[in-house]
Amino acid sequence: MTLRVVRRRDYAEMDRPPRNFGTFSDILKFTLTLVGIVLVPGILTRYFQVFEYFDLPLIYSIYYGFTLANPRGSIVIGSVLGLLQDAMSGVALGTNGFAKTLIGFLAASAGFRFNVDLAATRVLALVLFTFLDAAVKVMLSSLSDAGGMSVNEVSIGNWMLSAAFNLLFGMILFGYRSRFGNAAA
């Protein structure tokens, strides 16, 4: 079975520092990475239209969730990424923050409950989380009348395209990580 439960522990065991973030350069590097994750797609979209289908903050929320195996860290990272994305994308602040926080947490939880080193698990997670992210944003927009996206504007085709591109980039990212190091590297 692909999505077999590998081990079941409580979050206390999961809460371990992902890596040594003791040095200033590590923190700076990590911060800049997060900022770059949010800024680069927006800039690249100006030159290459296809980048509008990539949701890098989402992919990295999943990525960090899977690889850091730290729910608290994943919540914070997802929250920061989402909030930055909101600030830069012009939608209501909190919309992406809410979605990415939730996804970061779920990804981190999944990282401890399932074997996320399996390609099938990663594929399924990337696709499902893309749809979950979209669904959460639609729900929040409709509830808060944020004006960013209404239920009537939901485009399954775009979601699928986005899922495909996220899947593509996510698999490359996970493949890179499997070969060369861990998330914080």
């Binding site: 690249l44 919540i75 209501a92 919309t95 939730l102 929040l140």
Partner: protein, 286 residues
Amino acid sequence: MMPGSNKTVWLLLFAVLFGHAVLASVLTSGRTRTGLVRTLMLDGLAPIEKLIDVSINGVITVWDNYFALLDTSRENAALRAQNAELRMEIARNHTEVNEAARLRGFFDIGPHITGERIVARVIASDATISRQMITIGKGTRHGLHVNCAVITPDGVVGRVVHTGHWTAIVQLISDPDSAVGVTVETSRVQGVVRGANDGGLRLEHVDESLELHVGDRLVTSGTDLIYPKGLPFGQVVELGPVADLTKTAVVRPAADLGRLEEVVCLIDAAGSTLLMDPDLVLPGTP
């Protein structure tokens, strides 16, 4: 029962989610203006965004310029080749147009002249001091025969003296053995032009009492029964000494005998049919 640490995680999650939800709902009410939080974030991220943009733009610019130039170079080479090809085609067309104009000129020669006209290309030349001959690319298969008059739009060139099936040899009017009956266009004074040994032309047999001037234009008289009457022949350029009660003069041919490319052979033109027998002695022919 959730352990304490689990509780902390859940609390953190709910707190963060609640915070985002509050942000989304509270700040939505003031969407017409940018809120403080967003302003701070935008301002904070702006330098980094600009830096990334400049970097990406720089990479794209270098990429575009370098690889676009590679393409441009290839395109340039292709266009240069195409340009050379087109220029060659234009040159070819230009030559063909000139040739067509020249050929049209051949058929405009002497509308009064009857008979067939055959245009032939000069394929060889044997213009020496002693012999002034050219070879043309038409022969008996094309209807040429001995003593056909050969002319250009400018004037008389000579006559066919030998024929092959596909080529013919033309004796130029400057050949020492050539003699052509001519008339001064204005005064109607008649004479015979022979080839001089120096490759020039000399007018002879002009009565001493008749007037002859430098600049007089000469046309064929038709008396030699080879060249139809009235074809432009040449111009008197210098008067010579009087000998045996006749005047002589140096004549410059109307046709440029040194630069012949195509000529017109007059088949069965007036008078020439009488001379198809090569044994017949031509007037003025030694």
